[in-house]
Amino acid sequence: MTSPTWVLHDPTSELDPIVRPRLRPPPSLEGRTIALLDIGKIRSDEFLDTVEKELRARGLDVLRVAKPTNAKPAPDEVIHRVAGDADVAVVALAD
């Protein structure tokens, strides 16, 4: 028997996920702007301060960006700033 015996309605958002291919890492950081994104976790700034120091010592451009709080998603202006003004991003994700 192959006829439908049950009809179920989808409880999900029915969004077919569109998996966009990730950008390939640049072969070199030379001439690139690197965003350092602080998501608001404790001591993110300490970690990113150190990363910034290391990157600047290599003569690279660094853009510091911060979310107001880790409890909420990044505001649009933060996302646009990283996407628009930087080529590479480093996210300080945990405590």
Binding site: W6, H9, P11, S13, L15
Partner: protein
């Protein structure tokens, strides 16, 4: 006045055997046919009682009854071509005579006899018939499942489950669930994180079916979701956190009793359908509509059993007790939910402290462990006071306000004890606070709820999510339940 039947006139009559009035009109139906009228008789159960009547139609699947919108049998409908030109419900001799143009119908029946309920409007049947023969109005994608596939396994395979079996969301069940709310199925409750997808009442109803809810739980589920979607509940952060927490739902007001919620024995445990399924429905909506799944955006290091469901009602049986909802601004007597970003249960057993001051110190010793004994002003907490512990406060005349204030005082610590490194423990507050008195909780960060069985000098601490450290951005939300 109905005109006399003409050549194009026909009649449909709907009857069932389990109806004395239907049995009584059998001779009337036979006489109508004997008089040359075109009469089709639909029977809903058994045709044996219709001896002497012709043109019988089997309507045991109730399709014709549904399409004719029959709610009472017998009902006789008159047609001219494709237009209905008259209808009589039950037995009313004058009306039957007018409709059929025949005189002295049913001389032994008396002038009037009420009908019986149609099988098509039996409890639960209208949703079944609507799904089977009508336009269900449901907009969510329909998925056909053929035997021998088990719909419960299909739900697992499609990722709709939290790990436990779910109730298959059939159109009948969804339509029945939607009867629990006055809100339109396509009304958008809000944008559900983390995917920020519009979540309709219909999607909530489907997930409530999965969870095992009854329709009467829908107002609570919807209010809980609306509270969860308040920006300052920070559902996105709560869902994607590495921490243990998930929405803890506390229900206040008459609705808790009306839908059979538990605030007594084992209030925080298993065994009560409303408690179990309301919390589960909320989490399933986050999973299925919002896309918040473990291993995806849900990055909980360990999680907790509360992520399946954590919902209970407050004990409001003591009129002297100011309820949680009232404390948080809801007028007395109204229904409300409070959503708290919380973990599991830390039991506090104290059978020795018999004064309010001693009990406050005792309970505070457990409350200071929230997040970590040396972490302060990060996580909020719910203290669930059992009846026997509450009795100690009540006997001494202490109310919610006084208990809360005393607990805040008792949880305040000398900075030297809680700074990083103190006691040989690396965790703690900033060294700069060494000379301060450091509160454990923000002023609004400690909530009291009364619940539990009558026996047991126990209470419970429900630890809050450390997101509470951003007290202006993330805090519990209380919302009135609107039917």
């Amino acid at each position: 006045m109905t005109t006399a039947p003409g050549p194009g006139t026909r009649f449909e009559v709907v009857v069932k055997s389990d109806c004395p009035t239907c049995e009584a009109v059998v001779p009337v139906l036979a006489r109508m046919q004997a008089a040359g009228l075109d009469v089709v008789v639909h029977y809903q159960d058994d045709q044996a009682f219709l001896a002497g009547v012709e043109q019988l139609r089997d309507d045991r699947d109730l399709e014709r009854s549904f399409r004719l919108a029959i709610d009472t049998v017998p009902t006789v409908v008159r047609w001219e071509g494709t237009s209905e030109t008259g209808r009589v419900v039950g037995w009313v001799r004058a009306e039957w005579e007018s409709l059929t143009g025949l005189e002295e119908l049913g001389p032994d029946l008396g002038p009037w006899k009420p009908g019986c309920g149609s099988n098509s409007v039996a409890p639960g049947m209208s949703e079944i018939l609507m799904a089977r023969f009508g336009d269900s109005g449901l907009r969510s994608r329909a998925i056909d499942v053929a035997e021998p596939r088990d719909p419960v396994e299909v739900a697992f395979d499609r990722g709709w489950s939290d790990g436990l079996p779910v109730v298959p969301p059939t159109p009948e069940r969804i339509l029945r669930m939607l009867t629990g709310t006055r809100r339109e199925p396509q009304e958008v409750v809000g944008l559900m994180p983390p995917d920020l997808v519009p979540c309709t009442v219909e999607k909530v109803a489907i997930n409530a079916v999965l969870a095992g809810c009854k329709p009467e739980y829908m107002p609570v589920v919807l209010a809980a979701l609306e509270a969860a979607l308040e920006p300052n509940f920070t559902l996105h952060g709560l869902t994607c956190s590495t921490c243990f927490s998930s929405p803890v739902i506390v229900v206040n007001g008459p609705i808790a009793g009306r839908i059979g919620m538990n605030w007594g024995v084992n209030a925080l445990g298993q065994g009560n359908r409303a408690n179990a399924t309301i919390g589960r429905a909320v989490n399933l909506v986050v999973r299925n509509v919002g896309g918040g799944r473990p291993g995806g955006i849900d990055r909980a290091t360990l999680g907790s059993p509360g992520k399946f469901t954590f919902c209970f009602a407050e004990d409001e049986t003591d009129p002297d007790w100011e309820t949680l909802a009232t404390w948080r601004g809801i007028p007395p007597g109204r229904d409300a939910v409070t959503l708290f970003q919380g973990d599991g249960v830390l039991g506090v057993m104290d059978q020795g402290s018999r004064t309010p001051d001693a009990l406050v110190r005792s309970l505070a010793s457990a409350l200071i462990t929230v997040c970590h004994p040396k972490i302060c002003e990060w996580g909020n907490a719910i203290l669930v006071l059992s009846p026997e512990h509450y009795h100690i406060f009540k006997e001494a005349g202490w109310d919610r306000r006084r208990i809360t204030a005393a607990l805040h005082d008792a949880c305040t610590r000398p900075g030297a004890e809680v700074v990083r490194g103190a006691g040989g423990v690396g965790e703690g507050v900033a060294e700069s606070r060494r000379d301060e008195l450091v509160p454990k909780f923000h002023p609004d960060g400690l909530l009291l709820v009364r619940a539990g069985g009558q026996a047991g000098l126990y209470s419970a601490v429900l630890a809050g999510w450390p997101g509470g450290r951003a007290k202006e951005d993330s805090f519990p939300i209380t919302k009135e339940i609107i039917p």
